[in-house]
Amino acid sequence: MAEAQAVDAETGAPYTPERFMNAEQKMTALVEESLAGYKGQKRSVNAMFTKLSDVSKMMSKPLITWGRSNSLWPLQFGLACCAIELMDFGASRIDAERKGYLLFRGTPRQCDVMIVAGWVTKSVVPRIKRLYEQMAEPRYVVAFGECATCGGPWWESYNIVKGIDQVLPVDIYVAGCPPRPENLFSALMKLQQKVGGKIAGNTERNLSETARRNESERL
């Protein structure tokens, strides 16, 4: 006699392992089933039957870096003098938005690049950290001007952090007091190449450094 099968209380249908699968497991099972006939033959399978993570693994590097490097949205956030040049960067003479990938946003949640423009005081550091943490990964930091790079003329001041790189991982440093808007443009194009993997340093460095900082903070 066959053993009694567990039944669903509502529908009365018998329980099968499929009922406990989530969507992704179901998809995997489906793909494995569809692949069964192809095992051994080296051909690509229909993308419709592959998992989403497989798609991203297959296409990730070129497609995602292309997408990331062509949609760098800076955060509209200024501290001091360099912020005036940042405004000039977005205004009529340079007009950063004509490039299409440098759209200043008001909220950190939509942004990829933080341009630290101005001197960083000790009381502002927690706020900048908060903004940085609100940005979605991968995120990049540009230290714009001498003050954000190393403290600049306020090196001897008691209230100044000597460079934003003591707080956040910096990707690009821009020299000048203040740097011209053209310098910022060239810096952001450099960052674009860096994100696109065309020059040394890529997204991994940023992420690993973030992770390392989090780890050291926990200790």
Binding site: Q76, F77, G78, L79, A80, C81, A83, I84, E85, M87, D88, A91, S92, R93, G106, G118, W119, T121, S123, V124, R127, I128, L131, P153, W154, E156, S157, Y158, N159, I160, C177, P178, R180
Partner: protein, 365 residues
């Protein structure tokens, strides 16, 4: 209705720097505003006491980074007064012209950012920056710096004016006069602009005196006070210009004051260019760290900066300031913000705050 406490800032696109406001609102009406400042404090006054006299101008330029030359000039003037140095006549005219150009650049940026604050009128912002870029181009050719100039030397400027300075400046102010006149057509007939500014943030004449506000904010409340008129320096007493005043004291009056000051500055520059000696020497003393020793006495210098009256109080020592105190117009104007916002709507915060023209480099110093 229960009172709700809302935090604004310190990092906010419209605070023009780093300002934190704690606002108590009843529905949409503001009951109380607390301002928290000091996020850009770096101890300028203390740093200046450790430097020789002519090492300091670069610190002063960073007080007000929209009109750096004004603070550069007021500091160098206080050193000149401490050492008893006379400014050459041609250099006096040149300084007046450059300072008024700087005032025009400051007001242009202010109009642009105000329009941006009150409703994303980005067109006017773009226009203002187009005109400001032309001013900066001229200043760069004259002084050597695009934004920070450090072009004041004891008794004059850092270098000779370029040979075509007169023609270029005439061409520039003609261009600006024509372009800025267009703003009036666009802004004063714009419903949004007028609705957001008229009758908002009214500062009465009595309150303006009590709070001790400075500059265009004071003049918008009906008080005709301008250091260029009441205690003329350089050649301002020889020039014919008027000080615009308005009686109403609302945000619109503050906008009109600055708008009209652009034309007054153009008037001043035009006269100064004509009156400037044809072949005058404008170059001052080269920077020497050990200069002539200053007399140990108290020096107080007042200047009409674009944002209001700035004062430097200096107790000179022989080679460097013994004590230096700065009275910044932004600081005194910020003090009146809670008064202006009492009973206003929440959305008016940045219209009122923007109309005061506050810069945090000098407020927090």
């Amino acid at each position: 209705m229960a009172i709700m406490r809302i935090n604004v800032g310190p990092i906010h696109p419209s605070t023009h720097g780093v300002l934190r406001l704690v606002v108590d609102v009843d529905g949409d009406t503001i009951k109380n505003v607390e301002t928290h400042i000091g996020f850009l404090h770096r101890g300028v006054e203390k740093l200046c006491e450790t430097r020789m006299y002519m090492q300091n101008p670069s610190y002063f330029e960073k007080l007000d980074y929209i009109s750096p030359m004004s603070w550069d000039e007021i500091y160098v003037a206080s050193v000149e007064e401490a050492m008893g140095i006379e400014v050459k006549e041609a250099a006096q005219y040149a300084r007046v012209i450059l300072l008024e150009l700087q005032r025009i650049a400051n007001h242009l940026l202010w109009i642009g950012t105000l329009c941006n604050d009150i409703g994303q009128m980005f067109t006017v912002f773009m226009w203002c920056f187009r005109e400001r870029a032309e001013v900066l181009k001229l200043l760069e050719d004259v002084t050597g710096g695009r934004m920070f100039y450090v072009n004041m030397r004891l008794g004059g400027l850092n270098r000779q004016l370029p040979p075509d300075f007169r023609d270029r400046t005439h061409a520039l102010i003609d261009y600006i006069e024509g372009k800025v006149a267009e703003y009036e057509d666009v802004l004063d007939s714009n419903g949004i602009f007028m609705e957001r500014l008229k009758g908002v943030g009214v500062l009465k004449r009595r309150d303006a005196i009590d709070y001790g506000v400075a500059g265009p904010v004071l003049r918008a409340s009906g008080i005709e006070e301008d250091v260029r008129k009441s205690a003329p320096y350089y050649v301002y007493d020889r020039l014919d210009f008027s000080v615009p005043t308005k009686a109403l004291g609302d945000c619109y009056a503050r906008y009109r004051i600055r708008y009209e000051e652009i034309f007054q500055s153009i008037r001043i520059i035009r006269q100064a260019l004509d009156m400037m000696p044809e072949k005058g020497d404008v170059v001052g003393a080269p920077i020497k760290l050990i200069g002539p020793a200053a007399k140990p006495d108290v020096v107080i210098v007042r200047r009409e900066l674009p944002k209001g009256e700035g004062i430097i109080y200096m107790v000179p020592d022989k080679q460097k300031p013994y004590r230096l105190s700065i009275r910044a117009p932004g600081f005194v104007n910020l003090a009146v913000l809670p008064k202006l916002l009492e009973g206003a709507k929440f959305a008016d915060i940045f219209a009122v705050f923007g109309s005061l023209d506050i810069i945090f480099g000098e407020t927090d110093r």
